[in-house]
Structure formats: C-alpha cells, structure tokens
C-alpha cells in the first residue's frame, strides 16, 4: 500500500512541477515530503480516505502556491487530480471492456491517457487561460468549479458503490443540485458578459454620432467666421448704395444678397440651435448630419424640438437607423420639388412617450401607398427600395412603437410614436 501511495503522490507532485514549470530544488522536494506526502500517508493510515485526500489537495495547493506565488497553483492541483481520477477510470474501463485483467496493461493505459491529457492541458489550455486575462473573480470561480467537480468525482468513487438506496438518492440529489447551480452561474456570467459587449457597442455608436455632431459644429463655426468676415464688405456696399441714394439698387442688393446669406448660414446655426433640447447624443449626431445633407442639397428643412427630450423607449441603434431611412426618403422626395420644405418634429407626449413626425411634400398625386413597404419596391427604379422594408422589420420588434404612413393634402407624412 505504501508503495502505491508513494507512487501516486510522486506522480502528482512531479506533474505539478512540470505544469507550473518549477525546477525542483532539494529544499522543495524536502518540503513536499514533509508537508504533503508524509502527513498524507499518516492520515490515510489512521483516518479516512476523505480526510487524507482533502488534506493532500489543500497542502499541495498551498505548497505549490508558495513555490510559484500564483493562484494558478490551486487550479493546477485540482486539474491534475481530476485528470488522475479520470485516466484511472478510463484505463479500468478499457481493461474490463476487453476483459484483459493485466495490471501491466492497466498501468500502461493509465500512463498514456494521463500523460497525453497533461500535455494537452499544458500546451493548449494553459496558454488560452493566461491569454484571456481573467479577473480574480473569474479565477476564483474556475477554482470553485474545479473543486466541485473533483468533489463529485471522489464522491462518485468512494460513496456510490457501497451505500444503500437512500444515501445514494441523497448524494445524487446533491450532485444534481450542484450541477444545476453551476450551470445557472455559468449562464448568468455569460449573459452579463454579453450585456457588457452590447453596452460597449452602443457606446461606440454614440461616440461615432458625437464625432459627426462635432464636425457639424465645426462647420457651422467656420461658416460663422466667414460670415463675420463678409459682414464688413456688406456694410460697405450698403453704404455705397445709401450715399448714392440708390434705393432701388439697395432694395435689390438687400433682398438678393443679404437675405440669401442669412438664409444659408444663419439658417444652419439656427437649426443646430433647435437640437439643443434633444438631449440624446446619438440622435443629435444623426439629425445634425441630416441637416447638413439637406443644406448641401439646398433643401429647406425645419426641425421642431420645443421641449427637452432625455430618452426614448427604443434601442438607440434601431431608432437611429429608422430615422435615418425616413429622413433620407423625405429629403430625396423633396429635392425634386421647388420651394419645398421638409418638416421634422420631435414632441414629447403623455407619460414619457414621444411623437416624431416627418412631413415632406409629394409630387406624384397617384402615389400608391400600399406597396411602399414591400421589399425592393421603389419609385426610383430597381435595386433600391430596401429602406422602408427595413424600417418595418426593425419596428416589428417593438410592441411599444407605432408608425403611421399617410398622404394628406399632397404631403407625405410619417408619424412615429414611441410609448
């Protein structure tokens, strides 16, 4: 018996040295014998197997922790023991399956299995684990799982053969509960992680929008500078007209040149000003880039946001996409019509719900409103028309959002209500 114990213990300790890449010094070996192997034998002889093994696990862990100064030591001890039990069982199984009762074969099988598993563990698993940079909470969790698994293995080995039905059922019950709890824990961890990932993605979208908004602000600023610069010239011209008492010329100059300038430059900054009440960064970015787009296309656009809006009950990525598509459509339809105005309003309604209205003039009196939501139906030719179908697809996931699409007095109106 002593021989077997010695053999097994050495095997385990040796593997640990290998796994943790520690060069065993004489002192270390001495400590191993004194603190782990000897007490283990002692406990094994005079008390039960459980206490002995329990001691072995704890002592070996702390010993190797002191050698390596890393929490991985604990984990590796558990892994080695699990693999030992596993390989042992596998060897026994194969042996009995082929009804060859040779201890030599059994030992051989054991060694093959054990060694290959250890090598796999060392080369692949350990590398993966260290590259993952697990938080200490995760590491403790892994150790906890390992200990539980080991406990169950031993429970399996030492209890299940010899007990009566009642104890068997109780033990099984405990094993099952532990298993279920483990799964629940693992799943919840997974879910938390997924949520974190999604939060990060949303932050990225927000950042992108913010960036676009900043660009728009910079653009406005540049335009303001230009305006200030031109201002002096304008005043000089006005002065000329006044000195010459040229009222006609003055009138023309004023209406054609100055009011134009006012409409183009200050119009923009006025519009950006209306976005002030919209305290959702992502939407600010989207709307300001749409305003810029409209301005570039020389399409008049008004934005009505009379009251502060801090949130909408809809995923920000989705609402950005939906509004983007609807506003693009509105602008595109209006550009063709002279003197048209695209009107957008974001209005708070009862109980934190929001009404968003997009209104653009319509040219085609026979516009068929039934088919616009279908995939690839476009009044602009083939290979287009996926936008509104996408909108419908996105909104189907929201039981709290409704969309009205209608034509009234030659205007095409989209009313999006988010409750």
């Amino acid at each position: 018996m002593l021989f077997y114990i010695f053999r097994d213990a050495t095997l385990i300790l040796g593997t640990l040295f290998y796994l943790l890449t520690i060069r065993p010094t004489i002192i270390m070996l001495f400590q191993s014998i004194t603190f782990v192997i000897a007490p283990f034998y002692f406990l094994f002889s005079y008390t039960s197997m459980i206490i002995a093994i329990g001691y072995f696990v704890i002592a070996a862990s702390f010993l190797f922790y002191s050698f390596k100064r890393s929490i991985i030591a604990f984990f590796d001890v558990i892994v080695v023991l699990i693999l030992t039990v596993f390989s042992n069982n596998l060897a026994l199984l194969i042996n009995s399956q082929f009804a060859i009762n040779s201890t030599l074969l059994e030992t051989l099988l054991f060694i093959i299995c054990f060694v290959s598993l250890i090598i796999i563990y060392k080369t692949i698993v350990k590398k993966k684990l260290s590259s993952l940079c697990l938080s200490s909470k995760m590491q403790l969790f892994l150790i906890f799982i390992g200990t539980l698994t080991l406990g169950m293995f031993y429970l399996n080995m030492f209890f299940l053969g010899v007990q009566d039905n009642k104890t068997l059922t109780t033990v099984n019950f405990f094993i099952q509960i532990t298993y279920v709890l483990l799964i629940v824990l693992a799943v919840s961890l997974l879910v938390t992680n997924l949520n974190k990932i999604q939060a990060i993605q949303q932050k990225e979208v927000a950042q992108q929008q913010f960036f676009e908004y900043m660009q728009v602000l910079e653009q406005v600023n540049t335009d303001m500078q230009k305006f200030r610069h031109d201002y002096i010239n304008i005043l000089m011209s006005l002065q000329n007209y006044i000195e010459d008492k040229d009222l006609q010329g003055l009138k023309q100059y004023f209406y054609s040149d100055i009011m134009q300038l006012e409409q183009q430059t200050l119009f923009q900054s006025k519009m950006i000003g209306t976005l002030e009440n919209l305290q959702i960064v992502e939407l600010k970015g989207l709307l300001s880039s749409k305003l810029l787009l409209a301005n570039r296309l020389q399409q008049k656009i008004t934005m009505e946001i009379p009251h502060t809006i801090t949130s909408v009950h809809m995923n920000l990525i989705d609402i950005t996409r939906v509004l983007g598509i609807l506003i693009d459509n509105a602008i595109e339809a209006s550009v063709a019509i002279a003197d048209s105005v695209v009107r957008i309003a974001i209005l708070p309604s009862r109980e934190q719900s929001v009404v968003i209205v997009i209104d653009n003039p319509l040219q085609d009196a026979n516009f068929n409103i039934s088919t616009i939501f279908e995939y690839q139906s476009s009044s602009k030719g083939d290979m287009r028309g996926i936008g509104l179908a996408n909108v419908r697809g996105i909104l189907q996931n929201y039981p709290n959002v409704t969309l009205n699409t209608r034509i009234e007095k030659n205007h095409f109106i989209q009313e999006l209500q988010i409750f």
């Binding site: 409103i369 409704t402 209608r406």
Partner: protein, 250 residues
C-alpha cells in the same frame, strides 16, 4: 359656426374682421363672429358663460398668457373646437402646434396671400363644424396621434388587421396606413354594417372588395392588398356581400 378672434394689434383685428365679413358672412348665414378680443382674459371670461366653435388666435400676445396657453385652455374645455393660429414669424412650429394642440392651421401674417390662406382655412373649419353638426362623426373612425385626433371616414377604410405582435392594429385606408393599440373586438363595436369580421385577424370593408379567391381563402381589396378570411366566416361573408350590393352607403 361661432368665431372668436383674439389679437392685440388693432389693425390686425380690423383686417381679420373685414376679411371674414366680406368673404363669408354673405355666403353662409350661420357663421357669426361672436367675440373680438384684444387679450386672452377676455376670451376666457367669455367662455365661462358662452361657447364658440372656431378660434383665431394670435400666438405672440403681449400678455401673461400667450396664445399657446390660451389654446390649451380652450382645448381642455372643448376638445372639438377648431383653433387657427396667426403669427408674425414664419410657420416654424407648424407641426408642434398640430400635434400638441391639435391646431387646424397656421396663418403667417406678413405673407402675401394671408387673406386667401385665412379664407381657405376657415372653409375647412366650417366643413369640420358642419360634419360635427350633421353627426358625420359617427361614420368615421378616430385615431389619436399625440394630441391630434385624425378622423377617418368609414368610406375610406379598406380594412383593419392585427399586427404580428402584441395588441397592435393596422388600419389601411385610401391614403395611408395607421398603427395603434386596440383589439378587433372593440373596434367591431364602433363600426357599422359595411364592415365584416371575416377572420380572427381581419375586419374588411365590404364595399372595397375587388374579388374573393376560395382556394386560398383570400380577399383582394380594390387597392391590391390581400386579406384572409377563415372558413367558418365564409357563409356569413357571402351573405353580407350580397346584401351590401343592394344597399348604398355614403
């Protein structure tokens, strides 16, 4: 139709009064201007004892109650009153007023065709008033959007359908599609005989049916969209169809 005017500038008041008198009061005997006020308090005081149908309000009133607040006060007393706003500035907040106060329209003072806009809008207000009076409201369906109630006459509705997810109903009519929260059973009670519940998820307007296909159990409406009917309603559907072709609704 009783009209109330609230405008603090005397010249504007005269202009409004003369426009209305000249364009309307000869044609329609039942339109009268019951109050010309110069500040909101007069209007509110008047409304304590009397009522009116149409209100022409200046938004930029130099008073502690501005036009918008006055409109809200009127709206709370009388949800069906027509409110028309008059403003000096451009119609920057047109949608806001439509959806938050359910204003009928916006007139901009300094635009060239103010008079024409005013008259057109008053025509619409008058029609609205006549509709309410003639209780034509009963042959229409109401959908609320923000504070604005859109009235859709039954005549224009093609069908109601349930939406794939929770409690949303889709209303398809001649000039648009609406979505709102309700259920078909409640809606059925508000409708009249020209509508038929042909499926658990559809109520169709019999007058707009183009053709029926028995193999696929589909109904094609006049605008091309397709509804379904279920087997157990088939007989009743056929009966209802033949009886409607004998009647005629407006």
């Amino acid at each position: 139709m009783k009209i109330v005017i609230c405008e603090d500038d005397a010249r504007q008041r005269k202009f409004l009064q003369s426009t209305i008198v000249h364009s309307f009061l000869f044609q329609f005997k039942d339109i009268e201007i019951v109050l010309i006020a110069s500040n909101p308090s007069e209007v509110l005081a008047y409304l304590k004892e009397h009522r009116a149908d149409c209100f022409l309000l200046d938004i930029e009133l130099q008073h502690k109650i501005n036009g918008l607040e006055l409109a809200n006060a009127i709206r709370s007393k009388d949800p069906l009153a027509t409110i028309i706003f008059i403003t000096t500035y451009s119609d920057k907040l047109k949608l806001t007023f439509t959806y938050k106060v359910a204003a009928l329209d916006f007139i901009v003072k300094n635009e060239p065709n103010v008079a024409k806009n005013l008259i057109d809008t008053l025509h619409i207000a008058y029609q609205h008033h006549q509709n309410i009076h003639a209780q034509k409201i009963d042959v229409s369906f109401q959908v609320k959007i923000g504070e604005y109630t859109k009235i859709i006459p039954f005549h224009d509705i093609y069908y109601f359908a349930t939406s794939p997810n929770a409690h949303k109903i889709e209303l398809k009519e001649k000039s648009g599609v609406y979505e709102f929260f309700s259920n078909l059973t409640d809606i059925e009670q508000q409708l009249d005989d020209r509508f038929f519940r042909c499926h658990r998820g559809y109520i169709v307007n019999l007058q707009h049916i183009q053709k029926i296909d028995s193999t696929y159990r589909t109904i094609t409406m006049k605008n091309g969209t397709i509804c379904h009917y279920s087997f157990r309603y088939k007989k009743a559907l056929m009966n209802a169809l033949s009886s409607t072709s004998n009647n005629s609704f407006e």
